[in-house]
């Protein structure tokens, strides 16, 4: 990691940044949590988010602390939503009902336009859900764009956390890693068309590694076996893939929403840009990028693709400090006492962390409550 590429900030400034994260997270988290559980759980979650904000601002290490937050959010989701389906250990609450699955949303876009059909809709969301969902997605896309996949997605945190659980990759990504990089886009196109043609949740049936239910499985035993085999392959991509390659295999190659967001994310101004003058062509960034979103361009310089989801890993990896957060490729005009604080990086980190923490308030405080109850017996 290059410690000199991102200057450290003072404690006071970092505390102010943390407060700016904490206040909105606690406000919204408290509003959500107070419906069923104590506000103290919301407070704990907001404090955690604020602490992450403090650490990022103080040290400049975006990706390291982001990953801690992101993985904690994903684990909380697993604990509360998924494990509660198996066990009565965790209490059911309104938080148990997943209002939607954003991964499934993209492949059923045409179905929704045609028949107002979504794969998963609970009672509360049936009427207003799609509109609310559309508005929420639009807001998220305008606020953080592709950053969703590295800051807020409640599944991506599993992949991301595991990708850094091993010090070195056992399998090195060869030329096929780039050759197949468009697979999520291909899957998205295919799933849009196939789901539309068959009026079925094709992704949920065949590829989703997170389904803990047989509700949608095919009645035919042979087909069901095939569905289970593909589901296991997807689970393997999610759990073993990152451990073997140090890359987010599921998110990079199998998630149709990642392709969807890569397409629409171009309307968001935040970018990670590379300074060609600082690029020595060492390709450390290419190996470090967990999303296989950086390649070596013909001139020997790093080139960032649309699949970059602004995780910040390349900022820490580049020995020349050639990567930085920008707004449409430009830095904010410097000048004045606040110039060091008013950077594209700080604006993006604040937006992404706050949004991710508010969004995960739907399950993270409740997961804390579950764990406290579990430990208390």
């Amino acid at each position: 990691m290059n410690e000199t590429s991102t200057p450290k900030a003072g404690r006071g400034a970092a505390a102010l940044f943390a407060l700016l994260v904490f206040v909105p997270v606690f406000f919204f988290s408290g509003q959500l949590a107070a419906r069923e559980i104590s506000r103290y759980y919301a407070l704990a979650w907001a404090l955690f988010a604020g602490l992450i904000g403090f650490a990022i601002f103080r040290t400049g290490r975006v990706s390291f602390y982001r990953r801690i937050f992101f993985s904690a959010s994903a684990l909380a989701f697993l604990v509360h939503f998924k494990f509660s389906l198996f066990s009565k250990m965790f209490e059911a609450s309104c938080f148990k009902e997943a209002p939607f699955c954003h991964i499934a949303m993209a492949p059923y876009f045409l179905n929704y336009l045609y028949q107002q059909y979504l794969a998963f809709m609970n009672g509360d969301w049936r009427l207003w859900g799609p509109l609310t969902l559309g508005a929420a997605w639009l807001f998220i896309t305008l606020a953080i764009g592709r950053g969703w996949c590295s800051w807020a997605c409640f599944y991506g945190g599993i992949d991301d956390g595991l990708s850094r659980a091993v010090p070195k990759p056992l399998i090195k990504a060869g030329k096929w890693a780039l050759r197949l990089r468009d697979l999520p886009a291909a899957l998205l196109v295919f799933l849009l068309l196939a789901s539309f043609a068959y009026m079925l949740p094709v992704y949920c049936l065949w590829l989703c590694p997170f389904k803990f239910t047989e509700t949608f499985m095919d009645a035919d035993a042979g087909v069901r076996r095939l569905q289970y085999a593909l589901m296991l392959a997807a689970i393997g991509a999610l759990l073993l893939g990152p451990l073997l390659t140090r890359r987010r295999i599921f998110c990079s190659y199998l998630c149709p929403f990642a392709a969807w967001q890569a397409f629409w994310g171009r309307f968001n101004p935040f970018r990670i840009s590379v300074d060609p003058a600082k690029c020595s062509g060492c390709t450390v960034c290419v190996s470090a990028c967990p999303m296989t979103a950086i390649k070596c361009a013909p001139g020997g310089k790093a080139e960032i693709s649309a699949y970059c989801n602004l995780c910040g890993e390349c900022l820490e990896a580049c020995p020349g400090g050639g990567f930085r957060y920008t707004l449409l490729g430009l830095d904010l005009p410097a000048g004045g006492r606040l110039a060091a604080a008013l950077t594209a990086q700080n604006f993006f980190v604040w937006s992404a962390l706050t949004l991710g923490a508010v969004f995960s308030s739907l399950w993270a405080p409740a997961a804390l409550r579950d764990l406290v109850k579990l430990m208390a017996g």
């Binding site: 468009d182 196109v189 295919f190 068309l193 539309f196 042979g222 087909v223």
Partner: protein, 204 residues
């Protein structure tokens, strides 16, 4: 005869969305993979596809009319899944060939190139023999008519109106670039595997 053409035309017009839904997963990946930023070239692909569909419809018109004359309907059940399997394997094979960038002997390359160029006819034929609800309604009508020429006229009308629903797929193609082609090849591969699996399931 014009009345029967109109009848088929109206049936297709009222139910063309079904045709669009069943044709798109086959036609769109191919267009995305092999299309160019030129109307003329993409239109030629579309013509081949509709030609394949037309041939399938006429074949069905003939078979349904003959079946009606014989008082029975006896299209072998394996025809559709077998065609689907063959078509899926062809799609997947050609896509894999393109994605891998494999360079074989000249004869193999030429054969693959010819197969890729003619694939839309096969895709059109497979969608043509895919029995969807409106198509089945048309078949029953033909068996009732039991007249080959009337059958051609009826299915000619059905073909003409359903083609209107599929034609808009060409609208986006003049903007196809290399990147879209790369995504299209992978889509063709996935779609090919899907249809091969569907065909296999139908046969087993």
């Amino acid at each position: 005869m014009p009345a029967l053409f109109s009848e088929g035309f109206l049936l297709g017009l009222s139910t063309g969305f079904y045709c669009l839904a069943s044709c798109l997963p086959l036609l769109a990946p191919y267009l995305l993979s092999e299309g160019r930023a030129a109307w003329k070239f993409n239109f030629y692909i579309f013509l081949q596809f509709t030609g394949g569909r037309f041939a399938a419809y006429m074949l069905f018109a003939l078979l349904a009319s003959l079946a009606g004359q014989a008082g029975q309907y006896a299209l072998p059940a394996w025809v559709l899944p077998a065609s689907m399997l063959a078509c899926g394997l062809l799609m997947a094979g050609l896509a894999a060939f393109r994605v891998s960038g494999f360079k074989g002997p000249c004869l193999l390359d030429a054969a693959a190139g010819t197969a890729a160029r003619r694939l839309p006819i096969v895709l059109g034929f497979v969608t043509g023999i895919n029995v969807c609800p409106p198509f089945a309604a048309g078949l029953l009508r033909l068996m009732d008519l039991a007249d080959i020429l009337k059958g051609f006229s009826y299915f000619g009308g059905f073909f003409a109106s359903t083609s209107l629903f599929i034609a808009p797929v060409l609208l986006g193609t003049p903007w196809l670039g290399t990147r879209a082609n790369e995504i299209g090849r992978l889509t063709l591969l996935v779609a090919g595997l899907w249809y091969a699996a569907l065909g296999l399931k139908g046969l087993v």
